[in-house]
């Protein structure tokens, strides 16, 4: 029997002030999808990292732009999309240097993607020039039969 897919969308102005609201949104969706406390915490942080990248790098803190977070789940997976209309900031293009090297170079860039990849089962990025950019993340739900 095909499982029913449930979809949720949040659209907020592009400001770090709204990170709390975004976290509350994905936390609620995560619990509704059946994730436990630990996985919800991971989801919350991964989405925070994705949206922070959009707000600070793609949109350069431009409040007139929107951040869109879409969450979809069925019985097997929870999928998150973070969509922006900014400059096409691809976090995977940020060099993944060691922590020691980042400290030595006075840089903290690239930590967000490292966190996302550690916490989610899949992370991918798509840039459609002149249109929009979309970061996709997948969390598998533990409902194996």
């Amino acid at each position: 029997m095909a499982s029913i897919e449930q979809r949720f969308t949040l659209l907020v102005p592009s400001s770090t002030q709204n990170l709390a609201l975004i976290r509350d949104f994905v936390t609620n969706v995560g619990f509704q999808a059946g994730l436990g406390d630990d996985d919800v915490a991971k989801l919350e942080l991964a989405v925070d990292e994705a949206c922070t990248n959009v707000i600070e790098h793609a949109h350069r803190n431009d409040l007139s732009k929107d951040v869109v977070v879409r969450a979809t789940f069925d019985e097997r997976t929870l999928r998150i999309e973070v969509v922006d209309t900014g400059e096409g900031f691809d976090p995977s293009k940020v060099p993944q240097e060691t922590l020691e090297k980042l400290v030595a170079n006075h840089r903290s860039g690239g930590l967000g993607l490292r966190v996302m990849k550690s916490l989610m089962d899949e992370v991918s990025y798509e840039i459609v020039p002149g249109d929009r950019n979309r970061l996709r993340m997948v969390k598998k739900l533990r409902k194996e039969v």
Partner: protein, 122 residues
């Protein structure tokens, strides 16, 4: 409504203690940045960051630790991190912070750690 974040400052002998409370993310990281900068400006570079009341941290908060550590150690000081709750500690561990920072269970253990290792190489 943003999630709240507060930094409280206190002294423990010649050590400065910054107690973090609430949510440390890209929105609140500048507050933490300023608190550390104020300590450096006042010549206080032996810092304990007490995370007992810290509920949440993202990489923006972790970036603050990273951006100051070299300067602080160059001045002969250090940042010792203590009392993190498991949810927060997990993020420090994922990024390998234990290789660079002393992270201990309690504030007395952080004081003790300063007595043993006043500073470290970056």
């Amino acid at each position: 409504m943003p999630h709240p974040f507060v930094v409280q400052r206190s002294d423990d002998g010649d050590l400065s203690v910054l107690s973090l409370e609430g949510y440390l993310d890209a929105h609140t990281a500048p507050q933490f940045e300023k608190a550390i900068q104020d300590e450096i400006d006042a010549g206080r570079v032996r810092l304990i960051v007490d995370g007992a009341q810290l509920k949440y941290i993202s990489s923006a908060g972790l970036g603050v630790f990273m951006s100051f550590i070299e300067e602080i150690r160059d001045k002969g000081g250090d940042i010792k991190i203590c009392s993190l709750v498991p949810k927060v500690r997990q993020i420090f561990d994922i990024l390998g912070f234990h290789a660079i920072y002393d992270m201990v269970e309690s504030r007395p253990a952080a004081v003790q750690r300063f007595a043993e290792v006043p500073t470290r190489e970056v």
